[in-house]
Symmetry: C2
Subunit: 151 residues, 2 copies
């Protein structure tokens, strides 16, 4: 449960790699870093259209961020692909199936053991894993209960 990298850190990452950190890239980054829930590419493009950020740029930039490990892909409750700005280091998302709010947790302790076991049993050379946990966040549980009362 850590915060995403602040913008100046990202800027340093770009600088270090010699990649320009343009106005559009900053806006897209700030959109993700400021959100507490996962967003689709379409939502991102919609949100930034007014700021003069083109759709193609959103696609290109999200892919760039993803390649650089600055965004992580998750699936929401409907199986739609969304993106979230991950924190420094390695963590896994706990996604609300209703509002897509995301909380990150560190669950790697258990998984390194599992990976070692799997590698030994199967002969696979393990290089990574992907874990997402789905639930309903407290606020959506509340809303749902209120909805039940009314019906």
């Amino acid at each position: 449960m850590t915060d995403p990298k602040p913008t100046h850190d990202i800027e340093a990452v770009f600088h270090q790699k010699g990649i320009p950190f343009t106005r559009q890239r900053r806006q897209i980054w700030e959109f993700f870093a400021g959100a507490d829930r996962a967003a689709t590419i379409a939502e991102t493009a919609d949100a930034l259209r007014g700021d003069g950020v083109g759709q193609a740029t959103v696609y290109r930039t999200v892919q760039l961020f993803n390649d650089l490990g600055l965004l992580a892909r998750v699936q929401d409750g409907q199986g739609e692909l969304c993106y979230i700005a991950p924190p420094i280091g390695h963590s896994h998302p706990l996604v609300c199936g209703v509002c897509r709010r995301v909380i990150r947790f560190d669950g790697d302790g258990d998984l390194t053991e599992l990976e070692a076991l799997l590698g030994a049993e199967t002969g696979f050379s393990i290089y990574g894993h992907h874990l997402e946990v789905y639930g309903i966040c407290p606020s959506c549980q509340q809303t749902r209960r209120e909805g039940d009362d009314g019906e």
Copy 2:
């Protein structure tokens, strides 16, 4: 590390639900059940085109199987969406990032504990999770080593 349901079991599932198990559905099921690696929808449609199975039918049927819990979605090494026929019960895929061979394992013991902990810490009502492990299978490791020798 279990086998997918044999075809006659699937047929029983369909019968029980009153859904026809047509020739096309059988062919699509046999394609997945007979494969030891994850396949994309496009690959499935290509493989069955000669057998007179239309593209729309492949899409409809894969979605149907998925809804019935007979297929599971996984991402391959390139992040492409593939499907595999899962075994009876709950398991997770170990996917080869090169050839997409899939081995299934049961890793839920650890995760129920993690889920309970997460639920208590965050107030989320947890309803599921998704775990995939990625590696290189022994045969692809071998191929890769041979390739290295030559270059």
